[in-house]
Subunit: 291 residues, 2 copies
């Protein structure tokens, strides 16, 4: 079990992170995971953690809201104690560690079922066309008016590649061919309990030049690699992804990346660049791993 | 939206899959995703899809079962219509497509919250030590007595790398250092509704030679690369992962792999190799993509 994250060093554009691994079964032995360095050519910016949202017609209250009112529905917190009823039978839950497990779970006191919580996966495409990348200007909160890659929550009935293509179609009206996996970014969200988003990005290419903003986008545009609006990006995940790609191009080889992106979050809400409170060096890359 | 999966060709050790992508917004245009070929050097085997399980002290019934009885708790089916009550307030749900969305959701008729379902992620380690790999013989169903990589469900409070190390510790008593991402396998499970497991495997190395089976393992052993018990592997995911690794070694370069592993499933249950009904060529690799 990982017990602590310790920042060993910090400088502009360079972060060094060490994680101490402590055995829970045998307290006498411990080990330190080796360090990985990550440098970005551009200076750190006010880019914070990324929670995509799902649009919903209702949020809370004793009655569903009228259809004309559309709100952003924030995802559940991951706090197991907030699960008070069984989804299947409606019985009240108790919160215990089941036999053979190590984590607190919500267990139905009527039917005995356990409500497991699964991490959220976000899938998207980094679409490259003639040395340009396709970005979408967001028409929804958070980060309304800022630029992002087409990406969104993976649904249970689709593969990651299918989900990335669906999101690209929904947000950019673009039909793409997935070329290769490009990055997995694990992004922790610090609320009452810590939860992670797993963000899977594929490199993709346009099948044709027919693209147009969907309801969640104001505009979709191809940006030259030297025109990317780094000051107007919606989320740290997008900033990291685009920087990794530009760095790969400089090195002449596009590779797969695994990163833990530790960003700044404020409660359960996402802060867009320039929001307050924020820190200009608001994320660190831990575990920058490549094959 | 992906409308159909069509098997174009089939031969021993070689599968060719095409997926037809049909636009839902504009029915006049469609495109076909390019084909990828995948060959395995060894012959296909009776290896089927992989559902890991969580141990639980109770499964169903009007009262929780005694602690001494331990059952395997099958995960929820992903069928949104089975969500009949709100986890947070206990109110009855209705099943509708919310404004701005395209999928049927369970929406609470009291508090208006939407019960989103998230795909399940499994994380694990391919541990390499002096040209040997560490495998665990399963002490639990399914596939009791068969060999697997240490792997299990990712929890909401951990990164994929942390989860893979935790599972390795729990199942093999081994402290490992994660070296690099190795594979993402998306594995569909065909029940009443189709759901996917996302299976993320890291290459890892032992920090020391202290390893021992945890409660879910009978035995843990290092196997030479020519000694891997391919006839006694627990799941298709393990078969695929080990074959990809051996093929990479032959080519002299270990890379990251993204695959959709379409396996044979029987209802919600996993069939281990040799089970019936089964097919000796029981899985296909779609979207074999690499950076």
């Amino acid at each position: 079990m990982l017990k602590a994250v310790q920042i060993l060093g910090w400088s502009s554009g360079l972060t060094i992170i060490s994680q101490r691994l402590t055995k829970t079964r045998n307290s006498s032995s411990s080990s330190t995971i080796s360090l990985k360095l990550s440098t970005f050519s551009s200076s750190p910016r006010r880019i914070l953690s990324f929670i995509p949202t799902r649009m919903s017609s209702s949020q809370s209250g004793s009655d569903p809201l009228p259809k004309s009112q559309t709100f952003v529905s924030v995802q559940s917190s991951g706090d197991v104690r907030k699960i008070k009823f069984c989804q299947w039978c409606g019985g009240p839950t108790k919160h215990e560690i089941p036999d053979g497990e190590e984590k607190l779970r919500a267990i139905c006191t009527h039917c005995g079922k356990i409500a497991y919580q699964n991490p959220k996966m976000v899938v998207g495409c980094l679409i490259v066309h003639e040395e340009k990348v396709l970005l979408c200007k967001r028409n929804i909160q958070p980060s309304h008016g800022l630029w992002t890659l087409p990406a969104g929550y993976l649904e249970v009935g689709e593969s990651a590649a299918e989900g990335a293509m669906r999101e690209t179609w929904e947000e950019a009206g673009a039909t793409v061919e997935v070329i290769s996996p490009f990055a997995q970014l694990d992004i922790p969200l610090i609320g009452q309990v810590k939860t992670y988003f797993t963000y899977v990005i594929f490199l993709a290419r346009l099948k044709n030049l027919d693209f147009a903003p969907g309801p969640e986008s104001i505009e979709c545009r191809l940006f030259g690699l030297d025109e990317i609006p780094f000051d107007s990006l919606a989320f740290s995940s997008i900033y990291v992804t685009l920087n990794l790609y530009l760095e790969d191009l400089k090195k002449g080889k596009v590779k797969f990346h695994y990163d833990v992106v530790n960003g700044f979050t404020y409660g359960l809400f996402i802060l867009r660049p320039g929001s307050s409170p924020s820190d200009i060096r608001a994320f660190t890359l831990d575990y920058h791993l490549q094959p």
